[in-house]
Symmetry: C2
Subunit: 906 residues, 2 copies
C-alpha cells in the first residue's frame, strides 16, 4: 500500500489527531482533533509535511500516490458537505492553507474560494441567491490566486495592479469601501483582473477547478521556501527541513450577509493573561478582512453578544470546551455562516512572559493542570521570565515618540531606559558623583573593561559596534542594564562629543531613549518604571501588594521543587544582595579584578615593580581593599558557598599606551609612585602590549609569574573568611584558579593558596574548610581533566573562553562575519549565547568524564554567560553538572530552565 500522504477530517471524524503535528502541521492536527471531538469543522484534508519535503527536494514533484489520495479526499469532503467540487449547480468551494509544525504567522500563503469560474459563480449566485456575494467571492479568489499562485507583479510605479483596478472602480462608483461596490461593478473588476493576468503572464486565468486547486497546493508548498519564511525560521530556530503541511478545506462564508461574520479570538488575554474570551470580528466579511486593516474589527468581548447572541453563546462555549480539552489558552479562527459557527483553527496561543506566568499559575489554581505541567517550556519559555524584571515603557508613550525614532540596533540587554547621552566612562562617573539620581545612557563605539564603572552608573548602554556577545552586551546583562549594541548607523564623534544618525545630531547631555526589548533608539525621553517583581525584590513594594510577584514567586517555588541543578550567581559584593534576592544558592564566580579598577594607582605600582620585593610592597596595599570586599561578600552569602576567581585579565587592561595617551602626565605620576624613570614606565607598557590578549599573559599565568599577587589574594580571602566566621556567620570559600591548561599550573597556584590559608589560620587560631578548584576554559584543560582533577577539588566550565578557544573565534571580533554566518546558516545559533553542543559541549563531556574518572564526586559547574541561557542550562543538566552560575537577573530563568530540564528527563 502506498504511504498515506493525505489525511481527511470532518463530519465528527478524522484520520489524524492533535498528536500528529510533525506530519500534519499544527493547523492540520488541530483541525483533525476538533473534528474528532465533535467541534463544527468544515470538512477537508491535510497533505503532509513529508510531501512538502519531497516536493521541495525534487523541484516540485509530488511523491507517488498523492494525486490519487487527494482525489479520494475531495470525494469525502463532497460527501460530507453535500456539494461537488466544480459542479455547475451545487459547487463545493475550497480553501488552501499552510500549516507547519510550529506556527509561522503570516509567513506562508493562503488561497480561498478555489473552484470558482464563470460557470460555478453562476451556480453560487443561484444557490445563495446573493449575486453580490458570489462576485465578491470570485473577485477575492482571482486576486489572491493571481498574487499567490500566478505571481502577478507590481507595475512601474510599484503599485499592485489589482489594487489599482479596485481603486479606479471605487472612484468611478463614487464609494469609499470595497463592500459598497455592486455585483456588476465586481463582475467588471473580475474581468479586469483576468485581463491583467493575461497581459502579464501571457495565459488565461485558469477556469478548471482542479487546475486551480493544484496551483494553490503547489503555491503553499513553495511558500515554505520564500525569503520571509526562511528568515523567520532562522530567527526562531525552526529547522528548514521540517516542511509545511497544506490544508484543503471546504469554504464556509462569513460574507453571505449580516447573519454572517468572521473573527479570531483568544480564550484568555495573551498580553497579561487575564481570563475571559476576547478577540476581533467583522460582520459580513471573509477572514482576510480582519487582518487586512481596511475595516476596523470590533471587539468580541464588547459587542459580539449584542450583535449575534446565539453565535456568541456557541463561540464562548466552544472556547471553554477547547481550553478544557487542550488545557491551555487557545487562539482560534472562526466563521459564522448564516448564524452557524464554524471553527477554522485552534492552537495554543502565543503570550508574553507576563501572560505566560499568569496563565500557568491560574490553570493550576483552576485545577486544569498540575505544577509540573505549569512549568512546561511550551507554557513558560524560561527566557520570558526576564520580562517580569525589566522596566517597561508605556506603549502609548512609545507610540507618541515614533517621530523621534533614530535607529534600531541589536536588542542585547532587555529593559527600557531613558537619560542623558554620555560618551565616556569618566564623564559618566563624574556626573554620577555630582548627582546619584542622574539618568545616563552611555553611548560608545564599543566598551572595554575600563568602562565598567561608567557602565555601572549608567541606566543603559548603547554601542555602534559589537554583537549580542560583545563586552557591552555581556556586562549589561550581568548588570541587568538595558542595552543595545551594533547600532551601525550611529556616528559617534568623541572629539565633537556628538552622536548622529544621518542629519539628526545629539550632543552629549541631550536626552536619548533605548528600548532593550526591541533594539529601538529614540531621541528624547520616554518615561519608564521598574517592574513590580523588581519593586518587591528591592523592598519597595510588599509581596502582598503585587499579584504578579505572588505568581512569579509561586512559579519559582514549583521550579525549585523539581530542579536538580543548583543555581548560583556570577556576582561581586555590590550585586550579591540582589543575587540572593533572585534565589542564588551561592556565588559561582566572583571576579576579583573588578575592584582593582578602583585602585589603579596601586595595581599600576605593582605592574611597574621591578623586583619581587617592591611588587610585594605594592600588592600589600591592595590587600585591605580585597579583604573588605570579600568580607562583605561572605557576609551577604552567609551559609552559602562562594567561589572566588583569582586575578584573570592581562595586566595591560590596567596600564597601556592608551592610558598614557589619554592622561597626559600619567607616566610622570606613575614613575614617582613606583620609584622608576618615565622611560621605565614606557618600556614596561610596551612589554605588556600583546597581539592576542585573549591568548596572552593572563589567568594563572599571571599568578605563576607573580606569586605575590596570588598570595595577596588568597590571604585576603582567608582573612575575610576568618573575620566573617568570627562575626558569627558560616562561610564556605572556594578558591578558583583561572585559565589552567596544565596540571602543573594548578599545582603551582594551589600550593600558594594553601600556604596562605595555613598562615592565616595559624595566626587566627581557627580553621575554615575551603576548597581549591579550577576553571576549565581552554581545550587542553578539558582534554587533561583527569590529571587536573588529581589536584583540583572542583571544576567550573568557563564557557565564554572555552567557546572562544574551541571555535577559534574571538567574541570581540566576530561581528565582522557572525551576522553573515547566521544568515547563511553556517552556524545554527550564536555560540556565545547558546552552548555549541556538538563542539564545545563534546569537549565539556570529555572534561566531565575525565574529571570524574579521577574524582567520582567532583563538583562541576559552569560560570560562563551560557549559565543563564535556557538551552544551555538544559544541556548542563543532561551532562550531569552540579550547578550553573549566571548573572543575578538570569537566576530566575536558570531556576526555571533547570526545572524544565529535570521534568523533561522524567
Amino acid at each position: 500500500m502506498a504511504q498515506q500522504h493525505v489525511y481527511s477530517f470532518g463530519g465528527q471524524s478524522a484520520d489524524g489527531d492533535r498528536t500528529m503535528k510533525n506530519t500534519l502541521g499544527g493547523k492540520g492536527a488541530n483541525l483533525a482533533e476538533m473534528a474528532k471531538e465533535g467541534f463544527p469543522v468544515p470538512a477537508g484534508f491535510t497533505i503532509t509535511t513529508d510531501v512538502c519535503v519531497h516536493y521541495s527536494k525534487n523541484g516540485g514533484e509530488y511523491p507517488d500516490g498523492v494525486k490519487e489520495q487527494v482525489l479520494a479526499a475531495i470525494s469525502k469532503v463532497e460527501e460530507t458537505m453535500g456539494a461537488k467540487f466544480g459542479s455547475d449547480d451545487n459547487p463545493l468551494l475550497l480553501s488552501c492553507r499552510s500549516g507547519a509544525r510550529e506556527s509561522m504567522p503570516g509567513m506562508m500563503d493562503t488561497v480561498l474560494n478555489i473552484g470558482l469560474n464563470e460557470k460555478t459563480v453562476a451556480a453560487l449566485i443561484a444557490e445563495s441567491g446573493d449575486e453580490r456575494f458570489a462576485w465578491d467571492s470570485y473577485r477575492r479568489f482571482v486576486q489572491m490566486y493571481g498574487d499567490v499562485v500566478l505571481g502577478v507583479e507590481r507595475d512601474e510605479q510599484n503599485e499592485d495592479p489589482f489594487e489599482t483596478i479596485i481603486d479606479e472602480a471605487r472612484e468611478k462608483a463614487g464609494v469609499e469601501y470595497d463592500y459598497e461596490l455592486s455585483a456588476d461593478q465586481l463582475k467588471e473588476i473580475v474581468a479586469e483582473f483576468k485581463r491583467v493576468v493575461k497581459e502579464q503572464k501571457g495565459r488565461d486565468f485558469p477556469e478548471d477547478p482542479m487546475e486551480q486547486l493544484w496551483g494553490a497546493i503547489g503555491a503553499v508548498f513553495d511558500s515554505w521556501d520564500n525569503d520571509r519564511a526562511v528568515v523567520y525560521r532562522r530567527q526562531y530556530g525552526i529547522p528548514h527541513e521540517w516542511g509545511t503541511a497544506t490544508n484543503v478545506q471546504a469554504m464556509v462564508f462569513g460574507n453571505l450577509g449580516d447573519d454572517c461574520a468572521t473573527g479570531v479570538g483568544l480564550t484568555r488575554d495573551g498580553a497579561d493573561g487575564k481570563p475571559g474570551f476576547n478577540g476581533d470580528y467583522l460582520i459580513n466579511a471573509q477572514g482576510e478582512d480582519v487582518v487586512a486593516g481596511i475595516r476596523t474589527p470590533k471587539r468580541i468581548e464588547e459587542t459580539f453578544e449584542k450583535d449575534m447572541p446565539a453565535a456568541f453563546k456557541e463561540l464562548t462555549e466552544i472556547g471553554e470546551r477547547l481550553e478544557a480539552h487542550y488545557k491551555d489558552i487557545q487562539d482560534i479562527e472562526f466563521t459564522v455562516q448564516k448564524g452557524k459557527v464554524w471553527m477554522l483553527q485552534t492552537r495554543n496561543a502565543k503570550r508574553t512572559g507576563f501572560a505566560a506566568v499568569r496563565i500557568a499559575h491560574d490553570l493550576v489554581e483552576e485545577g486544569v493542570i498540575d505544577s509540573k505541567e505549569a512549568l512546561n517550556p511550551r507554557r513558560i519559555p524560561a527566557d520570558d521570565l526576564n520580562q517580569l524584571l525589566q522596566p517597561i515603557f508605556d506603549p502609548a508613550e512609545k507610540k507618541a515618540a515614533a517621530d523621534q525614532h533614530l535607529t534600531t540596533g541589536i536588542n542585547a540587554g532587555p529593559g527600557a531606559a531613558s537619560g542623558k547621552v554620555v560618551l565616556t566612562a569618566e564623564a559618566a562617573e563624574a556626573q554620577f558623583n555630582k548627582d546619584e539620581n542622574v539618568s545616563l545612557i552611555l553611548v560608545r563605539k564599543e566598551t572595554s573593561p575600563e568602562d565598567l564603572r561608567g557602565m555601572r552608573v549608567a541606566k543603559g548602554i548603547l554601542t555602534a559596534q559589537g554583537g549580542a556577545s560583545s563586552h557591552a552586551a555581556l556586562v549589561s546583562r550581568q548588570m541587568g542594564k538595558a542595552c543595545i549594541v551594533g547600532a551601525q548607523e550611529l556616528q559617534i564623534d568623541y572629539a565633537k562629543k556628538t552622536v548622529s544618525v544621518g542629519d539628526k545630531v545629539l550632543k552629549e547631555g541631550d536626552d536619548i531613549t533605548i528600548d532593550g526589548f526591541t533594539g529601538e533608539v529614540f531621541a528624547g525621553l520616554v518615561t519608564t518604571s521598574p517592574s513590580e517583581v523588581m519593586q518587591v525584590l528591592n523592598g519597595e513594594m510588599k509581596p502582598e501588594e503585587s499579584e504578579t510577584y505572588q505568581r512569579y514567586s509561586k512559579i519559582m517555588g514549583w521550579a525549585d521543587e523539581h530542579r536538580k541543578l543548583n543555581v548560583r550567581a556570577n556576582a561581586e559584593s555590590e550585586d550579591a544582595a540582589e543575587a540572593v534576592a533572585f534565589g542564588a544558592e551561592g556565588i559561582g564566580l566572583c571576579r576579583t579584578e573588578h575592584m582593582f579598577f578602583g585602585h589603579l594607582d596601586e595595581i599600576r605600582e605593582m605592574i611597574l615593580a621591578e623586583t619581587a620585593e617592591t611588587r610585594q610592597k605594592a600588592v600589600d596595599q591592595l590587600l585591605p581593599f580585597q579583604k573588605k570586599d570579600f568580607t562583605e561578600l561572605f557576609t551577604t552569602l552567609a551559609g552559602k558557598p562562594v567561589t572566588i576567581r583569582l586575578l584573570d585579565p592581562p595586566l595591560h587592561e590596567f596600564l597601556s599606551d592608551r592610558h598614557l595617551e589619554e592622561e597626559p602626565g600619567l607616566d610622570e605620576k606613575l614613575a614617582k609612585i613606583a620609584g622608576v624613570t618615565k622611560e621605565d614606565v614606557h618600556r614596561r607598557v610596551s612589554e605588556l602590549h600583546e597581539l592576542n590578549p585573549m591568548l596572552g599573559h593572563r589567568g594563572c599565568r599571571l599568578g605563576v609569574v607573580y606569586p605575590e599577587v596570588t598570595r595577596m589574594q588568597a590571604t585576603a580571602i582567608f582573612e575575610a573568611a576568618v573575620a566573617t566566621k568570627q562575626a558569627g556567620h558560616e562561610v564556605f570559600p572556594e578558591v578558583m584558579i583561572p585559565l589552567v591548561g596544565f596540571k602543573t599550573e594548578f599545582e603551582n597556584q594551589a600550593a600558594v593558596v594553601r600556604e596562605a590559608a595555613a598562615a592565616v589560620f595559624e595566626k587566627a587560631g581557627t580553621e575554615i574548610p575551603y576548597t581549591v578548584g579550577t576553571m576549565i576554559e581552554i581545550p587542553r584543560a578539558a582534554l587533561r581533566a583527569d590529571e587536573i582533577a588529581e589536584g583540583a577539588e572542583f571544576f567550573s566550565f568557563g564557557t565564554n573562553d572555552l567557546t572562544q578557544t574551541t571555535l577559534g573565534i574571538s567574541r570581540d571580533d566576530y561581528g565582522s562575519f557572525m551576522p553573515q554566518y547566521r544568515e547563511m546558516d553556517i552556524v545554527p545559533a550564536d555560540p556565545f549565547q547558546t552552548i555549541d553542543q556538538p563542539g564545545v559541549g563534546r569537549l565539556m563531556k570529555i572534561g566531565i568524564e575525565g574529571g570524574r574518572s579521577t574524582r567520582p564526586d567532583l563538583k562541576i559547574g559552569i560560570c560562563g554567560e551560557h549559565g543563564g541561557d535556557p538551552k544551555s542550562v538544559m544541556f548542563c543538566h543532561e551532562a550531569g553538572l552540579n550547578y550553573v552560575s549566571c548573572s543575578p537577573r538570569r537566576i530566575p530563568i536558570a531556576r526555571l530552565a533547570a526545572a524544565q530540564a529535570a521534568i523533561a528527563e522524567g
Copy 2:
C-alpha cells in the same frame, strides 16, 4: 631477600652489564660490561639510581639493606685489589663518581682518594715509597672533600680559601706550579686545609674512612638535585625522576711517577668523524688535572706512542676492541699506573652532526653495523642533519672576534651570517634592489608578515623580542636563514637608527655577525661559507667532489628505504625547487597570501571595495599573478601533489592604521584607486581592526564573506593546472580550505571551488583530477572531524594554530611567561616546537579517528612547524598520518625522523 641496591664489578666479572643503564647509570653499566669482557677495570661497585630516587624523596634516607650491601661490596673490592679500606699498612683508597642514565658531563660531583687520613697516608708513603705522592693525594682529597661534601664556602673576597692557601704556599716556596711543591709543603697545606674546615664548619675533618665514604656517596646523590644539574636536565629533556647512580671504585694512580699518566680519548674524531684514536693525556697526574686546565695536556695521537710505547699499544688495542664491542665511537677515560693501563670509563661518544653522519656511514662501510642501525637516533639525532646545511664560521675566526661579542639571544635559526645592520624591511629591499650581493642582517624588535620581503633578502635575522616560535624564528627556519631572537639586551632605536647593548652602539649600515647555532651576536664581520651539501644541492659543486654530500646522500637513501611517512614541503614557487632538491615528495602547504604582499595596491582595492561587483573587479586584477605563481609551482613539482591553501590572514595585515601612519598620503592614493573617499578608507581600516586577530576574521571566514576571493583563487589554481598539463606535465592540485570549524563552512567554500573548477575545465575542454580538503587547526574541527570528512577529501593538521587554540596560548605573546614556565617545569617543552602530545596530540587523535570513521582511506597530513621536528614526526608516524610537511630545509630531518619512527616500531 632484600632488593639488590649494590652491583659489584672487577676481576673479569660483574653483577651488571651494559643493558642495565637505567639501574646502574651509563658509567656503572659500562664499567660492569668492561669488567665482564676482561678489560682492565679497577674493582668497585655501583649503588643504583633507585637508591638515589629513594634518597632524594626521603630527605637523605637510604633504603633498607644499602648499608649492608655496601659493606659486602667493599669486602669484594678489597679481595680483588688485595688491599684493605682503612688499613694502616695496606690501605685501599676509593673514588666516588656519579653516573646517570644519560651522561651529564661536569654537572655532578666526584670525590677521589677516599680513605686517606693521618694513619693511612703514612701507610701510603710506606707502600709507594713516595712521600710527595702520598701527601699530594691527601691534599687533593681534603680539598675535594671539603668542597664537595663539607661545602666549604668562599671568603668575603669571593676567593676559594683552599686555593688561597695553595697560592700562599707557592709564593712562600717560590714555585710556579702545584707539582713543584714538596712533600713537607703539601703536608703543611693539608694542615691548613683542615684548619679552614674546622673554622668554617665547627668540626674536625673526618678521619674515619667509612664516614668519609658515606659522606662522598651522599654528596654524589645530593648533586643530582643541584642547580646546574637541574638546568642541564631541563635543557636536554632528561627527566628529573631518573636519579643518578654512584660508582665507588678502587683508586689507581696516574700520579705515582713518570711511568704513570691519566687521559681521555676518542676512538674516532668527534668533530668530523675521521677514523683514528685521539685524545688528551698528562704524565704523572690525576684525572682532574686534565680538565682543570692548569697544565696543558698533550695529544695522544701526537706524542703518547713516544712517551709510553707499551701503554700506547695497549690503549689503542683496547680502543679497537671497545669499538668492535660497542659498534660505535667510544669516549674513554684511563689511567696508566706504573705502565699498566686501567679503564675508568667508556661510553658512546657525543659527536657533531657532521661526525654523526660520517661515523654511521663509515661503520656500515666497515661492516660493523647495517643501514638500519646506522639510522638509530642515538647515532644521528635527526635535528643534527641541519648542521650539514648551514653556512659555518671558522672557529678560529670566531675566537678572534671574542672581544667584539655584543650579547647572546635564543638560537632560533641555525646558521652563520654576517652583514650590514638594516632596521626595516623597506630599507633591506631598497639596498638589495641596488645590489643583489649585499649582505644584510635585519635587526628588529620583532617581525611581522610585512617584513617578509625584507627577511627574504636578508642573510640573517636578529630580534630583541620573541621566542623560539616567534614570527621571526618560524619564517627564518622556513627560509633557512640564520636567526637569533629574544636578544633582550638589544636596544633598538628606529628613530635614531641605532642598535645598542649598554654603551656599545651600532648604526644602520655597520657590520654585525650572528651565530644562529649558538645565539651569539658580534659587532663586525666574521667570514662564512655555504656548507658542501648546500653547494651540491645548489649545483655549485658536483656530488663526486664532496665526500660529505655523498655520505649525506647515502644516509638519506637508507632513510627513504625505511620510512613509511611521506615528506612534503611548505613552500611557495620561490623555494619549490629547493624543496624538491631536499627530497620533497609534494607540497603540503603553499601559502597563497605571500604573493599578495607584492600586490598591495590590488589587494587593498579589494579590501576597500564596497560592493561585490567592485570587489570582483579588484580581485580579478590579482588572478594573472596568482595563475603565474601556481603555474611555476605546478611545473616545478610536476608529477607530485601540490596542496594550495586559500587566503588565510586577516585583511588588516594588508591594510591597517600602521600602514596609513607609516606612509603619509597612502589614504589619498587608496581612495583614488578604490574610488572612495579618504574618510571611507579610514572607516574601513578602523572596521578591520581586531582585538584578537588570531581568533578573528580570517581563514575560510574570509572566503565565506567574500566568495569572490575564493573563486578567483580557485580559478587561478585550475587555470594554472590546465596550462601546466597542456605544457606536458602531470599535475595534482589539492585545494585546502583553512580554519574550518563547521562542516557548513567547508561545504560553502568547497562548492565555490568546485564551481570554479568546472567552469575552467569546460572552457579548456579538459579535466584534471583534484581534491578539496581542509586544515584541521581549531579544536572544533578535530571534535567534528567525522562530519567534516563527509565533504573534505583530505585533512592537514595546522598544528601551529591548533596548539595556540588548544592551549589558549598566542605564540606571539608567550614570551612573557614561557621562559619562566620552562624554568619552573610547568611545561616539559616548548609546545610550538614539539607537539604537546597529551593535549594537542590527543585532539589530533580524536580528529584522525573521526575523519577515518567517515572516510577510512582519508589522507591526513600535518603542515605546522612541527612537521620538521623529529619528536613530532615520530608522533605523526605513530598516529597513522600519511605525510608530514615542513619547511624545505627541514625535509632531510623529517625524512630521517620518519625512518627512525618506522624502525623503532619494528
